[in-house]
Amino acid sequence: MMVQRLGRRGVSAMQSMGRAAILFYRSLLWGGPGSAGWRDLLQQIHAVGVRSLSIIIVAGFFVGMVLGLQGYTILIDFGSEAALGTMVSLTLLRELGPVMTALLFAGRAGSALTAEIGLMKTTEQLSAMEMMGVDPLKRVITPRLWAGMIAVPILALLFSTVGIWGGAFVAVDLLGIDEGAYWGNMQASVEFYEDVVKGIVKSVVFGLVVTWIAVFQGYDSVPTSEGIGKATTQTVVVSSLAVLGLDFVLTAIMLGGV
């Protein structure tokens, strides 16, 4: 009984992964970013970007301040509090910027995307499109996938930037670290390719994965209000885990010198 249930769950999980793969293949591999028109793409970037903007800025500032405080208490024991700027900026650019942004994006924009597409399915808008001879995958899904892939790296850079300011606010204004040391050491040790570019690569992947999970959950949802509710929860849970798991994999690959 137990085994049977477990087996059935496993099979249905595999099946939905298969359907997600088909959705990915049909929408992204067959459709470029402009497949529903460039204006539509811009609108989608705007929609997901603006939805997440305020939460990203506020969260980024807080996280930067916390990093400043924690970093200060750690570094001061070694007498190297001048390296605080370096520590804050590297932590943000390499890890916390991409990861936190992706998690916040999943909660804010991802769940909204799932609900939006689930509602389009429930109200037969997607079916109506199909019957008009318009492929909803290209028309609805493709531009949203591209938008996520473009918006998340931008949001992540914004998160890191605001975070670095937050760190500076704590370090310089509250704890009295020398302003020149904070910014100067940061500039000397942050490398464009190693730190900034690799962080951007991470957040492109995160943006794609979170958006993919979100649109798939909406597209695959049971077309009832209950089904949409379940799908939105699923989006947040699955994409958060996916981001954290992928972060480890990507970090390992990048540190391995790829």
Binding site: T123, E124, S127, A128, M131, M132, G133
Partner: protein, 265 residues
């Protein structure tokens, strides 16, 4: 009879349940055919099989000479674009687009017409359903009947040959219902459409349909002009058309003997 849609030996199942078992039926070209039957028998399913949104497990669906269930995805979209229109039960208007943009959607997507010509076409279609004045409203501002008329204008925007209507009368007030009835008839005649209409409103369907197709338990139990079926159909057909509560379709869901059940408790 010159069939526009020809279904043969079609079987379709949902999980364990066999919804259609080797169904064969033809729908004539240029006529309005009403598909009628109890809720849950698979009328919507039949429309989706015809539109290629569902694939039969066996058998074939031929629309305008093309085997719908064997077309590639691309060919299927092309067939729908050129030949089919469908009115959904809920209207299915795009909620983020205005009435005008909803009707313009298929034209903008499928043609390269200049915006002035699209405007003329859209206004023409909206005029046909009497809603030219509502072009700037959003779908959320429309009543149920208006939404369905806008959806109707949208579905004829590309001048289809075949119109599929899924329960177009359900949930409408009498006046809106009258408008939809009149529109479906008028459009079919003016454009020479082949129309399939799923409904369980006997009176409305009889008033506009050239043929009735009665479906029950995955079989066609009667096909013919309304008058003929009413007078010459078998008991089951007449029970449905007259709305008798009891007959070949029993009033009671199958149950153990009533007396025994009462006594045994």
């Amino acid at each position: 009879m010159d069939p526009y849609i020809s279904i043969s030996e079609l079987s379709f199942r949902r999980g364990e349940r066999l919804i259609y078992d080797r169904l064969s039926v033809d729908f004539p070209r240029g006529k309005v055919t009403a598909i009628m039957g109890p809720s849950g028998t698979g009328k919507t399913t039949l429309l989706r099989l015809i539109g290629g949104q569902l694939k039969p497990d066996q058998g074939s669906v031929v629309v305008a000479g093309q085997r719908v269930n064997e077309l590639s995805r691309r060919q299927l979209f092309e067939l729908r674009r050129e030949k089919m229109g469908m009115l959904f039960q809920t209207g299915a208007l795009f909620t983020d687009l205005s009435v005008f943009d909803n009707v313009a959607f298929p034209l903008r997507t499928h043609t390269d017409l200049p915006e002035t010509m699209i405007r003329d076409l859209v206004l023409m279609k909206l005029e046909a359903v009497g809603l030219r004045g509502a072009r700037d409203l959003m779908p959320s501002e429309l009543s149920g009947g208006m939404a369905r008329r806008v959806a109707l204008a949208r579905s004829i925007a590309m001048d289809p040959e075949l119109m599929l209507y899924d329960e177009p009368f359900t949930g409408l007030d009498p006046i809106s219902m009258g408008m939809i009835v009149k529109l479906i008839r008028a459009l079919s005649e003016a454009l020479g459409l082949t129309s399939l209409l799923v409904s369980h409103d006997v009176e409305e369907s009889c008033s506009i349909a050239d043929y009735l197709c009665l479906v029950s338990d995955g079989r066609v139990i009667g096909f013919g002009p309304p008058d003929e079926l009413l007078h010459e159909g078998n008991d089951e057909v007449r029970q449905f058309l007259r709305g008798d509560p009891d007959g070949p379709v029993p009033f009671h869901y199958p149950a153990a003997d009533y007396r025994q059940e009462l006594l045994s408790s």
